[in-house]
């Protein structure tokens, strides 16, 4: 599986202000949560593809998509098995269960599960794109720009920075345990839990040691000196960035407006309503698609302006 951490690349998407990417991505996540209509969700998903292509991270995105596919399939299966709503019964069990009655698999439950899986794909794709194209320290800078307290932001950033170390520690400690004859996945659930608990305790102890060492190193480099801290690589917002940011936020504003006006909803149960749009209603998803895609030409214009 390719590494899913930030890599510096010379693309228009990497060159976009992190603030813009975070605003655009955050907007997309919110929209995927507030919309239910499959066409709107599909538009949200499709709008990510050009950015992924332009950022040159297609391979990494595809690998997360594969993982999402399995996750999505399990959502569909679980929903189909546990949700007995819906009029179109595709399969009925030859027995009845207490309380819930006869287990059935309905078309509506499958459709609902599929749209939930698509929503998940939107959210995971956004996080993948942000992760691959925004420098972690820039995320920190954006959070600081939003006036979040520096110490909290630094702690968050440090925790992210040490995640790979934690994973390595876990592997090594697990190996240490196995070389002493322990079969981590053997035995009943209680034994497995007990074995894992020992590893967790060792992991925690290692992390505490690491925390002390990091704190010591920070203190030795004047952390908390009492002087007003400066940020060498502060995020500056040019006029062009402000315009792009505005455009990046437009889909969110428009989407909220669409929902407030009562569009973008969809009824799955007891039977699926028509997926089509009546009269001029199709204009709204079309506008949404245009607004979502607008960030792409602006990224090119920004690059051109910067070169000029």
């Amino acid at each position: 599986m390719p590494e899913l951490s930030y890599r510096d690349k010379n693309t228009v998407i990497h060159a976009l202000s992190p603030l813009v990417k975070l605003a655009w991505g955050g907007g997309l996540v919110v929209l995927s949560l507030i919309f239910n209509h499959p066409v709107y969700i599909l538009i949200l998903f499709l709008s990510i593809i050009p950015l992924v292509r332009l950022a040159g991270v297609g391979r990494e995105w595809a690998s997360t998509l594969k993982f999402t596919l399995w996750l999505g399939l399990s959502i569909i299966v679980i929903n189909a098995l546990l949700s007995y709503h819906g009029d179109h019964v595709l399969l009925a069990a030859p027995f009845r269960l207490p309380v819930v009655g006869q287990p059935v698999i309905t078309l509506e439950a499958i459709a609902f599960g599929a749209v939930m899986a698509l929503k998940l794909a939107v959210i995971i794709s956004v996080f993948t794109l942000i992760n691959l194209t925004v420098h972690p320290d820039d995320i920190m800078a954006v959070l600081l720009k939003m006036r979040l307290p520096y110490k909290s932001v630094l702690v968050t950033s440090l925790s992210t920075r040490f995640v790979p170390c934690l994973v390595e520690d876990m592997g090594r400690i697990g190996d240490g345990y196995r070389t002493r004859g322990v079969q981590l996945d053997a035995g009943g659930w209680f034994k497995k839990l007990k074995n894992r608990a020992k590893i967790t305790i060792a992991l925690l102890a290692n992390s505490l040691d690491r925390a002390v060492q990091v704190a010591e190193a920070m203190e030795a480099r004047a952390f908390g000196s009492g002087k007003k801290r400066v940020f060498y690589k502060d995020i500056s917002i040019s006029r062009m960035d402000a315009v792009t940011l505005g455009v990046g936020l437009l889909p969110l504003a428009a989407g909220i407006m669409v929902r407030v006006l009562g569009f973008g909803d969809y009824r799955y149960y007891p039977n699926l309503t028509s997926i089509g749009f009546g009269g001029w209603e199709w204009v709204m998803p079309a506008v949404m698609l245009l607004l979502l895609a607008a960030v792409v030409p602006l990224a090119f214009i920004k690059r051109r302006v910067e070169f000029d």
Binding site: R161, D175, G181, K198, A202, K233
Partner: protein, 552 residues
């Protein structure tokens, strides 16, 4: 200047002081080496210089300590940061940000310096540490040596007058260690920076420093130039002398007409050339007896994803042998030895442990025959007490409680851990933890014991004890396989050496075949022997004793 008078310090909860009556003056521009046994107070003293002790750690402190005229006991580390820069042992845990440029800027940002000054300081620091090419590199992609250089650059950017380094090379391979030490030499020589360095491997540094302090039991037990300290009585100091110095001391004790102590191989060669008269012929060639192989590796390949880490390894390891596995970092050493107990299984080829294919056995099954001691003892420690830790493997196998009790007693005694039997293993010192880790593996009496860099960061006494123990263990018919960069230790104790590069076995043979006449991997004495071969000294000489046999 650093001035310390009558300093005593005890950590919170400790039953004895970490520093006792320290009196010390370090003039500006000196290069000072601090060495001595583990737990002797070296790191604590260095943390006094920048105020981490007592301000960060807390504890009871008495006496006086001043750095550049500032009272350390009243000045917190963050205010001393522009006077004293500190670089720590673990390169990973002292980098705070994600890339090199931001790392160097971190301290300057904390001090609220203007951005143009920060930009200038970053340039200077990058150039001074010779890492301008790494400017935009991500910290997690750097090698250990590069990380240490970034750590040094990040403190240099604060323009400290004193640079304190706590075993900065202990986690590095020899090449990276050499680069870091060369950088320190330059900082001291050209910029006049005061450098205070804690180091165990004296052969790496004695020729660089002006002054050497030896600490033991919280006190300074020797202080002087390296020549003065190493020429005196070193019996109680707990330090291991570099082989050429040991050789000269031995020659002197045999009344050979040699003057002074050499700090480098060149120095030793010049001194010896003047006095060499008769050399007894010796032939150290030839390996040990042909023993029966216990491990057979046949065309072994191993890959992480698409990256081949081991490439077509063919190797027989003899029962009762002592084999050292050497090579640069990332050459595949650890991956190779992890195949032996099934932690990793070959992608292609076969490994047989006395005919049994490791792919058909679980790690648990193999662990009864192949013990594995990890680099970091913390990876071994799970139990609540030392005795439970040692008993763990046997108990897990369902051994009889009487047998467990007696086996644990033997180990506690063997590794001098009796007084810690009820202690929580993770609360012990580094050396003690290492002993617990070893005991917890050796209690199972594996026929093959694999040790991954066991001597890294170990003081001389511990190293000596470990090597003696392993030699004894091997003589009982067991096999010892040791991954190490420590050429001097390997020259003393190994029989065979496997040299890996880029996942392939480059050389494999008797230690003389591999270590003698090698450019990078030859021990000090062999480099000296090569230079003296014109006088009849065997160029396969590896150890002090072998040299003495010829010229003593």
């Amino acid at each position: 200047m650093i001035r310390i008078r009558g300093l005593n310090f005890t950590y919170n909860g400790a039953d004895r002081p970490a520093l006792r009556n320290i009196n010390l003056t370090i003039e500006d521009g000196q290069f000072v080496l601090i060495t001595g046994a583990s737990g002797g107070g070296k790191s604590t003293l260095c943390r006094v210089f920048n105020g981490l002790v007592p301000h960060f750690y807390g504890g009871k402190i008495g006496g006086k300590a001043e750095v550049q005229g500032m009272d350390i006991l009243k000045t917190p580390p963050r205010e001393l940061a522009t006077k004293v820069g500190m670089v720590f042992q673990d390169p990973e845990n002292q980098l705070v940000t994600t890339d090199v440029e931001r790392e160097i800027a971190f301290g300057l940002e904390n001090l609220g310096y203007p951005k143009n000054l920060i930009a200038r300081r970053i340039e200077e620091a990058l150039d001074t540490a010779s890492i301008a090419n790494l400017r935009f590199a991500r910290n997690n992609e750097l090698s250990g040596g590069e990380k240490q250089k970034v750590a040094i650059a990040s403190v240099l950017a604060l323009h400290p007058e004193i640079l304190v380094l706590d075993e900065p090379t202990s986690e590095l391979d020899p090449q990276s260690a050499e680069e870091v030490l060369r950088l320190l030499e330059r900082l001291n020589d050209e910029l006049g920076l005061t450098v205070i360095l804690i180091e165990q491997r004296l052969d790496r540094v004695v020729h660089l420093v002006d002054r050497m302090l030896v600490m033991g039991d919280g006190k300074i037990i020797a202080d002087g130039t390296p020549g003065e300290v190493m020429n005196g009585d070193i019996g109680g100091l707990g330090i291991g002398l570099p082989p050429v110095i040991r050789l000269m001391r031995e020659l002197k004790s045999h009344n050979a007409p040699v003057n002074g102590l050499p700090l480098t191989v060149k120095d030793a060669r010049l001194r010896l050339q003047k006095v060499l008269q008769s050399v007894k012929t010796a032939d150290f060639a030839g390996g040990g007896a042909n023993l029966k192989p216990i491990v057979n590796m046949d065309k072994v390949w191993f890959s992480y994803g698409e990256r081949a880490v081991l490439k077509n390894i063919n190797l027989d390891i003899d029962r009762g042998g002592f084999i050292a596995v050497m090579g640069r970092n990332a050459s595949g050493k650890t991956t190779l030895v992890k195949q032996l107990n099934g932690l990793l299984k070959p992608s292609k080829g076969k490994i047989r442990l006395e005919g049994v294919d490791t792919r058909k056995s679980t790690v648990a099954e193999l662990s009864r025959r192949v013990g594995y001691v990890f680099q970091n003892p913390n990876d071994h420690l799970f139990a609540d007490t030392v005795e439970d830790e040692i008993a763990f493997s046997l108990r897990n196998r369902g051994a009889d409680e009487n047998h467990i009790t007696s086996a644990v007693e033997v180990m506690l005694d063997e590794f001098e851990l009796g007084r810690y039997r009820k202690s929580y293993p993770r609360n012990l010192s580094g050396g003690e933890k290492q002993r617990v880790a070893l005991a917890s593996v050796l209690v199972g009496e594996p026929e093959v014991i694999v040790l991954d860099e066991p001597t890294r960061g170990m003081d001389y006494i511990l190293k000596k004890k470990l090597v003696d123990y392993l030699d004894d263990y091997r003589r009982k018919g067991n096999t010892v396989i040791m991954v190490s960069h420590d050429v001097e230790t390997i020259a003393e104790c190994a029989e065979r050496v496997v040299l890996l590069s880029e996942g392939r076995v480059v050389v494999e043979g008797g230690k003389r075949e591999v270590l003698a006449k090698a450019l990078l991997f030859s021990p000090q004495i062999n480099r000296l022997a090569q230079a003296l071969s014109g006088y009849g000294v065997a160029d396969t000489t590896l150890t002090v004793d072998e040299m003495l046999e010829q010229i003593g």
